[in-house]
């Protein structure tokens, strides 16, 4: 399978998976954003939240990484700058969710 076809399929599958996860997350964000520290920690410490939020992060960063690289493809002329931008984006899309997921699994009430 062509690499572009693979990227496109990953993009489409991740967007389909992201729709219910986005709804779940934004509703819960509204319910906890102004809560006390203990309530926020309680939310992120529950097993369901840990799993769903980790999935949300993995799929949202994968999806964003692929779509932003398309924007680079559309608007950045120089191949060198495009490669640097894509590599930085890939590192960012791995490091940020990874540290956050580790943090969530280390959160205790």
């Amino acid at each position: 399978m062509n690499i572009s076809t693979k990227k496109w399929l990953i993009l489409k599958y991740s967007s389909a998976i992201l729709i219910p996860l986005m709804l779940w997350f934004i509703i819960n964000l509204v319910s906890i954003y102004d809560s006390e520290y203990i309530e926020v920690v309680e939310f992120f410490s529950s097993q369901v939240s840990k799993v769903l939020f980790s999935l949300f992060l993995v799929f949202s960063f994968t999806f964003s990484c692929l779509t932003i690289s398309e924007i680079f493809e559309d608007y950045i002329h120089s191949e060198k700058i495009k490669n640097v931008a894509n590599k930085s984006l890939n590192i960012f899309a791995i490091v940020v969710p990874l540290i956050t997921i580790i943090s969530i699994f280390n959160l205790t009430i």
Partner: protein, 127 residues
């Protein structure tokens, strides 16, 4: 050869219409969403520092500006969800003709405001 890679024409070249407006809005809201998700990641990492350090974030989120950001995010997520459903239906071969795509475009835009309100009310246990 690579230096002459053709680029997408810049925004000024297009005649504004619902399809181009939604296309660029979809990209902009996507970028806003990932910036917000990144900030939320930092918010969660910050939780590890303990309750005392969290007070300043709590004060910010409870301020008018904090509420404004959360309500804005409700709309941004809603718009992205509805427009993504529109894109997925195109990928499955539905709704690609001009008239239908204009109608679904208007529905996605108008629906995003309704969905944002519903998300906020649902999140706050008002409905």
């Amino acid at each position: 050869m690579f230096e002459k890679n053709p680029l997408t024409p810049h925004l000024q070249i297009y005649k504004w219409q619902i399809s181009s407006l939604l296309s660029i809005s979809h990209r902009i809201t996507g970028i806003i969403n990932i910036i917000a998700i990144t900030l939320i990641c930092f918010w969660i990492i910050y939780l590890l520092l303990g309750q005392t350090s969290y007070e300043i974030i709590k004060l910010f989120l409870r301020s008018f500006f904090g509420k404004f950001i959360i309500i804005g995010l409700c709309w941004s997520f809603s718009f992205h969800i509805l427009n993504e459903i529109r894109h997925l239906s195109w990928d499955l071969g539905y709704g690609f003709d001009l008239k239908t795509s204009k109608i679904t475009g208007v529905l996605a835009l108008a629906g995003s405001f309704v969905l944002a309100i519903l998300i906020f009310l649902f999140g706050k246990n008002i409905i």
